[in-house]
Symmetry: C2
Subunit: 122 residues, 2 copies
DNA sequence: CCTGATGTTATATTATAGATATAACATCAG
DNA sequence: CTGATGTTATATCTATAATATAACATCAGG
């Protein structure tokens, strides 16, 4: 697994890790059942603190993307929560569509964006 | 204009204000050319500090949603930056689609979400 | 020419979150 | 027993969010 931290970004390191893991699961670079590096391993590899990686992994578990075993570490195991997941994504989409509407981006253009992202990988 | 702050939310006050203004512009509750309350007015109305409101307004200006006149205050005036706006929204959509794909939400379901949000107001 | 309301700037303080640094602990495969 | 795992606990440092005062430049309107 490859994680790259942008140290100049305003986005928190643990969020960058979390987002990249989600992206890699979605686009097939991380497969179901596959193990993530240990918190210590990944921390050293990217040159940050263990606790920061741990925070990312804990969040991923809490959000239902991985399962964590006390000694085998974290592995990809997406938990489906149809109602909660749909609501969360719809809520985020609400603001995104609001921005688009303000900026004069029409529905078809947004559909095209969605299609492009669905066309990738996997 | 009505702004409601959720004081228990983890989301910063100034971001709540910014998001609600964007939403209201998008869905027609705030019309082009319409004035926002002064920073002092709105701050007192919702019971927070002037500087917090000012931060929200400044961000909205920086992002191209309002124009600020030194003494008439802020008014809705959306600036279109086709390239930058499209890229920003597409980037956000990327992660949103990644989440959806992980959670088994298919493309049609996402399209439906978009349509629902486009169907509202205005 | 004043008055008052506007956004703006400056400084200081407090609280919280992000990140780091050590250290120790429980677990259990090998 | 050993070693690697995630976990928990402190402590420290920095940056951000929010508040609190105060002052400033601007200028419409009386």
């Amino acid at each position: 697994m490859t994680i790259e931290i942008n140290f100049n970004s305003e986005e928190a390191y643990y969020m960058q890790i979390r987002n990249q893991v989600i992206s890699q699961i979605a686009y097939g670079e991380l497969k179901k059942g596959e193990s993530l590096p240990s918190v210590r391993q990944l921390a050293e590899e990217i040159g940050i603190n263990m606790h920061t990686v741990n925070k990312a992994y804990s969040l991923l578990r809490q959000e239902g993307y991985v399962k964590i075993d006390r000694r085998r570490g974290a592995m990809v195991d997406v938990e489906y929560r149809q109602d909660a997941d749909l609501k969360e994504i719809s809520d985020e989409m609400y603001l995104l569509v609001a921005k688009a509407r303000c900026k004069g981006i029409d529905k078809d253009r947004v559909h095209k964006m969605v299609d492009e992202h669905y066309a990738k990988g996997n």
